[in-house]
Amino acid sequence: MLFTVLLGLITSSLIVPFGRFVKTKWGIILAFIPLLLFLYYLQYIPLISWDKSYVQHIDWIPSLGVNFDLRLDGLSLLFSLLITGIGTCIFFYAKSYLKNDPYIDRFFGYLCLFMSAMLGLVLSDNIFLLFTFWELTSISSFFLIGFNNDHAVSRKSALTALSVTGLGGFFLLAGLVLMGNIAQTYSISELAEKAQLIQDHELFPYILGLVILGAMTKSAQFPFHFWLPGAMKAPTPVSAYLHSATMVKAGIYLLARFFPILGSNPAWTYSLMIIGGITMLYGAFHSLFRTDMKGVLAYSTISALGILVFLLGIGTEDAIIAVAVFIVVHALYKATLFLITGIIDHATHTRDLSVLQGLRKVLLPVAIAGFLAALSSAGVPLTLGFIGKDLIYEATLHSEQHVAIYLTVAAVITNILLVSAGFMAGIKPFMGTLPEKFEKINMPAKSLWIPPLILALLGVLFGCFPHIIGDWIAQPTVNSIMKVKTDFHLQIWHGFNLVLLLSALTIILGTILYFINKPNPRKLQWIERLNFIAPLTIFQKAYQRIYNFSTSYSNYFHNGYLRSYLLKIIIFAEVLLAYQLYLGGPLHINWDLLSAISVYEVVTVLIVFGAVALTLSTASRLTAVVATSVIGYGICLLFVFYSAPDLAMTQFTIDTLTVVLFVLVLFKLPPFLNLAKKRILIRDVVVAIVFGMILSMVAIRVLHVPTHIAISEFYGKNAYLLAKGRNVVNVLLVDFRGFDTMFEIIVLSIAALGVYSLLKLRLKSSEKE
């Protein structure tokens, strides 16, 4: 099993060096990868039974409980077959569809990556592995949706899809981790055994909410559905793949996978029924107003996903059977409809339903495929859609007594609208008279029209022989979701009963609706007036708000003025220091410990203060520099008084050198300008004085903290004995801490090199501008 996941990943990395090969006609070889995988998974159909699953265990990070565990059971098998089967059609189709695209190699790279991620997702038996692949599908779909990256709209749609599904990923991760911590295991199959423990835990509502949020964003449930219509900016093969069999079904897969762990309780049932119910009605209703073929399909996809969530919420055996069958039904007809949309778009260069008609005369096989898919989507007898719809009605009618009637009504209304949407996309473009401008259209390449035709014919084949799907696919799926052995057989004919009546009613009303509701741009405008309350608008506004906030935030803190940065840092430091001082209690000074004061020192300090005042007040740079050096000399004197002759010498030398350098370089400069406003001056003075006071208080506090003199004593004792030097400070610097001093010398040398090269640097006249 591992190789099936890795094959796509390896292929996509091989495309980096061998991309040119994909552009030749031999690139079609890539399409045999999903075909191979499809055949591989087909052989498991007879092997999988209700209590048998195939497990592959590979240690990854066992100490953290993250293992590369793969498990193939009925549910995984259903999805694996869809991913690889539909994938095969898509790969063949895309090779022709993007024949002239210069980046087709890139496209197949993303597509292989995406397929692998989906396969990994449905096979994972470890929650962290599941999450990794979940995110990988988001990321690879981002590249696929934004494939036409020279269009701004395309890029924006890709980003919206990524941010919505990525956001959901965070929720999901939180939910998964909580679940894993409660059950003390990260294996999904072991979690299922501890379902009762998780459901009884006080955090259960949060876990449930987080997992559902993850599934909602991925499966485009209201109010997170808006990324899906935007994702239609992708090339059509991508839309077909992402929205029929894979990406959006990942959320459904997640809910089905966690049904044994989180399901079968009122919180699960009602939240999913409400979310799914709203989504299916909302999507179906919106599909009526679209004139773009892809728009109709996008909203009917949202609606179909709503139906699936709704059924998972009901959670009875009937409902789960309906889920298993409807996933297949929807994948087959939706992929077909998307693929024929692509063909029509290629041939006529439009997807506008109010313009397209009569295309059956030039695109007959495409018309047959569209027609069959539309019938399947409408649930006409002898198609798989009929069986699927029967099962849905069966599930709603046999749900809990007091809600059954409402659920059935909602399902019937949704299906009526979906019948109309299916006819609109699959039949409308081919009916009526052919406009003159479309007469020149030639039949497209075989690899374009054969895949949709195969999918559409499969829908009819399974419709005529439903036990193929029922016994081989649906039954193992239902068994692995319900964790019990179920025994059911799908039949074409159930006899005359209420379900049949509802089905007939759905088809008749849907057909009438289709004839009444002509696609018209004006209706689209009407519905767009409601946009101000649409979730997309709210999302965009929220996005804009956050964007504006962060812009003004960084503009405030990062405005490009040094003094403004400094001011903020200083004020922050003041607040922190003041708080720390406040925590330390009141200050007190022990007068006995202070040393005596003498005249020399007072005079020196007074001179320093005078120099400080001069530095601040003078308008001449030279005076300011000289005054600063006087401050330095004053400090130098203080060093002399307080037994630091080395310091005094260094300070004296350095100060002198600095003044010389300053004067040499700066004596030409003009006097200071007084640029600041009075208000700013006062603010700076206050900030500066506060800082000075705080530092003085820190110094007072430090004054009475006893110093640890053990280190000093060590140096004092050993300066001569070990290092043969009498000046302890010097010995310390050149002997005990010799390496420090060496590096200091290196730093100074680098500074000296910098100074020298800056002085010698001659700019060209052009660079002076």
Binding site: N555, G560, L562, R563, L594, I597, S598, V602, V605, V612, T615, L616, A624, I631, G632, I635, Y642, S643, A644, L647, T650, I654, L657, T658, V665, L666, L673, L675, D684, V687, A688, I689, F691, G692, L695, S696, A699, V702, T707, I711, S712, Y720, L721, R726, N727, V728, V729, L732, L733, E744, V747, L748, A751, A752, G754, V755, L758, L759, L761, K768
Partner: protein
């Protein structure tokens, strides 16, 4: 005497902070120098200042017989003075370069035109 030094530290810090908040690059530099001096004094004060007893062992002796000033703060400050000279000298030359290019020492004129849009 310590109190006088503490006052000196406060004044040096306050002046330094005030100067680095100005627009002139020369003042910025002087401010940095004053902050450096203030910090040196603060470290010096931490080592229990002692009058007239430099940490130098007298001739003929192998160890100290008397009390002596703490050598560690002195070694630290010595390093600090030298390093800050490296910084100052480089900054002064840089200042000269900038002045030669744009004929001003006003920090606001250093912003590139794109940044001014913000």
């Amino acid at each position: 005497m310590e109190l006088l030094l503490i006052l000196l530290i406060g004044v040096l810090y306050a002046t330094g902070i005030y100067l680095i908040l100005r627009r002139s690059m020369v003042k910025l530099l002087l401010g940095i120098m004053l902050l450096g001096n203030g910090t040196n004094m603060l470290i010096f004060l931490l080592g229990n200042i002692t009058k007239g007893k430099p940490p130098i062992i007298s001739d003929g002796l192998k160890v100290f017989q008397d009390i002596y000033a703490d050598p560690i703060p002195q070694a630290l400050i010595l390093t600090a003075i030298v390093i800050s000279f490296g910084l100052t000298s480089f900054a002064i030359v840089l200042l000269k370069r900038v002045y030669a290019l744009i004929n001003t020492d006003d920090l606001d004129n250093l912003n590139t035109p794109e940044d001014e849009d913000i």
